[in-house]
Symmetry: C2
Subunit: 68 residues, 2 copies
């Protein structure tokens, strides 16, 4: 099991958080997704290796941006 963190830009409310969680949860291997709205911190737990690009793409699919 591994944990990776990202910072997401543009979320303004609980609906935004839900959208990000929903999309990132669908990434292969992901077992748990947590989002802290005030800081934009996205914490992704997984069973095995997860492609960072897949997480970034999922965040963008939700309509937000990962800060590099």
């Amino acid at each position: 099991m591994s944990t990776a963190t990202y910072t997401v830009k543009g979320m303004t409310c609980g609906h935004c958080v839900s959208s990000v969680k929903e999309e990132v949860s669908e990434v292969a291997g992901v077992t748990s997704v947590e989002v802290d709205l005030p800081t934009g911190l996205l914490t992704v737990e997984s069973d095995g290796p997860v492609q960072e690009a897949d997480v970034v793409a999922a965040v963008e699919e939700a309509g937000y941006e990962v800060v590099r």
Copy 2:
């Protein structure tokens, strides 16, 4: 047909707008709902008389507040 306007407080993004539109659309008699996010202006068109209290309750159900 009549049109009433309200000011809604607390909406921060398009998801918020969707929630308000969805709830207010369910109020009896309402035929059209428009929301302007930057100003919070909610415009409600209806076939017949609509109870203001029902619109206010719908906005609150969505998680926001009508400014009086």
